[in-house]
Structures are given as structure tokens and as C-alpha cells.
Amino acid sequence: MGLTNHFPALILAILLGISFLSPILFRWVRKASAPALLLSLFLALVMAVYLLIQTTQVGEFSYYMGGWPPPWGIELKINLIRAYMLIVVLAVSLWIMVYALKDLEHELKTDVLGWYYTLYALVVASMAGMALTNDLFNLFVLMEICAISACAIISIKEDRACLEASFKYLILSAMGTGCFLLGVAMVYMVTGHMNYDLVNEYLPVAVEQYPNNMFAASALFIVAFGTKAALFPLHVWLPDAHASAPSPSSAMLSGLVIKIYAFGLFIVFYQIFPRSLLDSIPLNEIILWLSSMGIMFGSIFAMVQVDLKKMLAYSSIGQIGYVFLGIGLDDTIAMTGGFYHLLVHAIMKSMLFMCAGVIIYTTGIRQIKQLGGIGQVLPITMIAFTIGSASMIGIPGTGGLISKWYLALGALEIGRPIFVVIILASSLLNAIYYMPIIVNAFMQQEEFAYEVKAVPRQMLIPLIIGMIAIVFLGVFSRPVIVLLENGLQLFF
């Protein structure tokens, strides 16, 4: 029994360990704390890649915490989709952290940096845990950890807007987790289990005996994950929170945190709930229409924003809609598209927030209309912004096209062409609010009117990596698509 068997637990142990260690490190060996965080994120990523390779060879496998098998102990489970989520979370958070090291220096006071690393590692650890866990109550605890630390990486900036935004976020996510816990209680009442697989085994009988109970539970789950992931009518907390946070936190929150809850909803629908429940009440239909409205209204709200980061935040509401659309369409191809969009959007939205961060770092401006001519002074940043926007719109050669293509194919496959129309319309809307920025930035004749600091290399390298990743995902999408198709087969 080698060390490799323990990788699922070790990923979590390393991330939690570094989060507790970094305040101490920051106090005593200040220089080592940032490299230690990067190193542990990297180690966790290596382990996650190993897990992916292992799961392609042996299929689904489990890890029992403390050696206790399911009805008693907590089970961690690895299959293709979970390993995929794990890698997305770890890779993107490592990438953001590289960028964050420089950005945080000017956005935060120096003495709270150690705490920021703690909170960052906690967010990553809880998300990795959510991708791995196979236990409802464990999921609840991880959701709460994620909620608190996600709020804290907003409020750590300590200006008025941040405090208010994070309070709003905290209250609404507390409502979300309250609903989730009540839903778990409903499920526990009728099944007597917390483990996903055991719940799934007993639910078909329970649904027949106590249908009302399960209807209530499913409604609660939708509200819980919808609030957390900013599904359309429950998105009110998102724009303030994501716009006012320090740029690395915005990238983290918009890129990853809302996605992991979409993944949570996917797990609840397709691993825990039996098919009979999904067929007997139109849960997917609700998700479909809410996400469609999110896609449209998110883009429409984004058009009227004057603040760059706020516009990006509203755009996230639209983009998370695509992921939910993939989940709601209940079709392998569409869901592949949804999950592919999860990866692509994690990269492109993080990159756009990084660009916004660079702009704020170098010039200090946030208003969209002040950006005219900025392409001449910050060429690489604005090229990155252009590629990110192109991917948002879905221009060929970028990752955004592939996910939309698969979503549209899936919608046609199950005979719902209306959603193809929605996808096309929203692409158009995306173009309406992203194109003017790019055109202004590059085409304007006048000189850029504000003072510009030099861009540190540490900030540019992540942007270049992001550009390459997006184009790569747009051109060589096949491996990921195949992986997702194989992975999703387990759930149908």
C-alpha cells in the first residue's frame, strides 16, 4: 500500500495544512509563506492529475476516511468528472495565485497577507473537498467553509463597499446553506443515510412512500445551490461581491466558486436523486428556464454598467447560466458542453478579472468610458482582454465556441431549438457589450489620458498563459470532450 493510495485525502490535508501553517509562516519566515502556498497548490495539482490518470485506468474508486466504509465513515470518491473538477479547481487557483502575489501587494495591507493566504487555501481546500466528497453532511460543512472564507477574501480589503458586499453575500449564502441543510434533513428522514450512493439506493422506495418530503427537498436543493451559484433570480448578491473584491478574489469567486455549486447541483440531480424523481416533477424544466433567463438578463444588465468589474460580474450571471443550461438539458452532449464551459469560463473570466486588475494596478481607473486608447499603453493586457472577450462571444478559435456549439447540439438533439435561439441571442448580447471596449481601446486616435505604471512581469505571465490556454481549448478541444463524454456516461 503506497502513498499514492492516499492521494484523495492528502490533497485535502496539504491544502488545509498550508492554510493553518501560513499565518505562522508569515509571522516567522515571511518570505517563505507565498512560495509554500504555491508549492502546496502545485503538489495538490500533481496529485489530482495522478488521480485522473488512475481513474481512467481503473474506473471509479473510493477512499474511506479513517478506514471506515460507507454507512459509518466519510467516503471520498474519484471518477472522471470529479477528477476533472478537481483539476479545474486546483489548476485555475494555482494560476490565479501566481498573479495574485503581485496584485495583492498593492490592494491589501501587508500584515493581512498571511491571512489572505490562509483564506485562499481554505477556499481551494473546500472546493476540492466538494469535488471529492461522497457524503451529504460533509458537503454541507465544506459549503459553509467555502462560504465564510469566500466572504472573508472579499471583506479583507476593508473598504465600505467590500464590507457591505460581503455581508450581503454572507446573509444570502447562509440562507442557501440553511436551505441545503433542511433539504439534507428531509433526505435523511426518509433514507437514514448521508452517503450519496446509499441515499440513491433507498430513495426510489422513499419517493413512493413520502413524495411530498422529496418534493420539498428538491425545491430546497434548487434554492440552496441556486443562491450559491447565482442562478438567475437569486443572483442579487453577486455583482457587488465580485465587483468590490480585490481582483484575485474576484477572479477566484467568479471563476471557480460559483462553478463548484453548479457541480453540486449536478451531483444532487444525477447521482443522488433517482431518475423517477427527475421524471415525475419538472425539476430540469425549472433549471432550464431559470438559466435561460439568467443568460439573457445577465447580459442585458451587463450592458448598462459603467464600472468594468461590475460589468464582468454581471456577465458571470449570464455565463453561469450556460453551465446550468447544460445540466438542465439532461442530455450527454449538452452536459458535455456545460462542463466544458465550466472550464473555459473559469479561465476566461479569471483572465478578464486579471486584466481589470492590471488596469486598476497600473492606472487606477475602473470606468469603462475612461478606457479609450488604453490598447496603446497596455498592449498585452488588452490583447488578453480581447481574447477573453472573443471567447465570451464565442468566436471560432476560442474555447467559448466549443462549449456553445455542444450546448446547441444537445438542445437540438432533444428537440428544443428554442435554447439554440437563446444561446445565439446571448452571444450577440455579449458582443454588444464587449466589442465597444476593445474597439475603443485599440482604435481611438487620442492619446490615453491617464498616467500609467509599468506592468510587472509577474502579472503578465499569467495573462499570457491564460491566452494560450483559451486558444488551445478552442483548437484542441477533443481530449477534454472525450474525457467528459466518458465521465458523464456514468451518470446516465
Partner: protein, 150 residues
């Protein structure tokens, strides 16, 4: 100096605090035998420190356990938990395994029994007690500290 009421509060709290602390430690180390454990015991212990700080003032409270010590203990307690889990891996069992990793089980009902649970409860007690103190300091001082409070 303080009024008579102040004196009463101070003397009482000074008198009561050691007993509360002993009770807290009792609850922590009997966590595997009786109701209670790391969280409840730690909360009791932390409450006694907060009580002293409240009835005197912050300097006297900080003399017992300073903010810095509390935050280091807080990280240390949590790290101890993780390390106990890792020790189980080093001994060849799963993460956080107890008997199967070879932790001594002892006699059921005795104080030194239940292997890793005893150790974990102990670390948990330290963590919770110091967390309560840090929380208190954070809310009291507030001014120049970060907003995160856990």
C-alpha cells in the same frame, strides 16, 4: 479605582476562573468518555479567559494569553489535527485512521483510551479555546486588524 460593584465582579471572576478552567480541561480530556469533548471543553476554557479580560481590562487579559499567542495556538491546534491524520498514513492506514493505524486503544472506560480520538480532542480543545479568545480580541480591538474571524 473601581467602584464596589467592580470589585465584586473582579474578585468573583478571579475566584471562579481557575475552577472554570479546570472544568474545561476535564471536559476536553474526557471527550471520548462522556458528553462534551474538544469543542465544548474548549469553549468553556476560552470563556474563562474572556471572563477575566472582561471583568478587568484588556491588558490583564492579554497577560494571561496574548492575541499573538492565541493565534499561533489556533493554527497549531488545527495543524495538530492534520498531523494526527498524517501520522495514521505514515503508520500504513488511511487518513485519520485510529485503531487500524495502531494507536493504543487502552481499556474502554479508562481515561487513556480510544487512541487518536483522545489526541484529536485535545488538539481540538486547544484550537477552540484559542479561537474564542482570538474572536474576542478581534471584535474588541477591531480597529487595525483584518476582518476575518475564525
Amino acid at each position: 479605582m473601581g467602584t464596589l460593584e467592580n470589585q465584586i465582579v473582579r474578585i468573583t471572576s478571579r475566584l471562579v476562573a481557575p475552577f472554570i478552567q479546570v472544568y474545561g480541561i476535564y471536559v476536553i480530556i474526557h471527550g471520548h468518555l462522556s458528553p462534551g469533548g474538544g469543542f465544548s471543553g474548549g469553549a468553556i476554557f476560552g470563556a474563562s479567559l474572556v471572563l477575566v479580560a472582561l471583568s478587568f481590562n484588556l491588558e490583564v487579559g492579554a497577560k494571561q494569553i496574548s492575541h499573538d499567542t492565541a493565534s499561533i495556538l489556533e493554527s497549531g491546534g488545527a495543524l495538530g489535527f492534520v498531523i494526527t491524520g498524517l501520522v495514521a498514513i505514515a503508520l500504513g492506514a488511511n487518513f485519520l485512521a485510529n485503531q487500524s493505524a495502531g494507536f493504543p486503544m487502552g481499556q474502554t472506560g479508562q481515561l487513556f483510551s480510544a487512541g487518536a480520538i483522545f489526541i484529536i480532542t485535545f488538539f481540538l480543545g486547544i484550537k477552540v479555546a484559542s479561537t474564542i479568545v482570538t474572536l474576542f480580541y478581534n471584535i474588541i480591538e477591531g480597529e487595525d486588524k483584518s476582518g476575518d474571524a475564525h
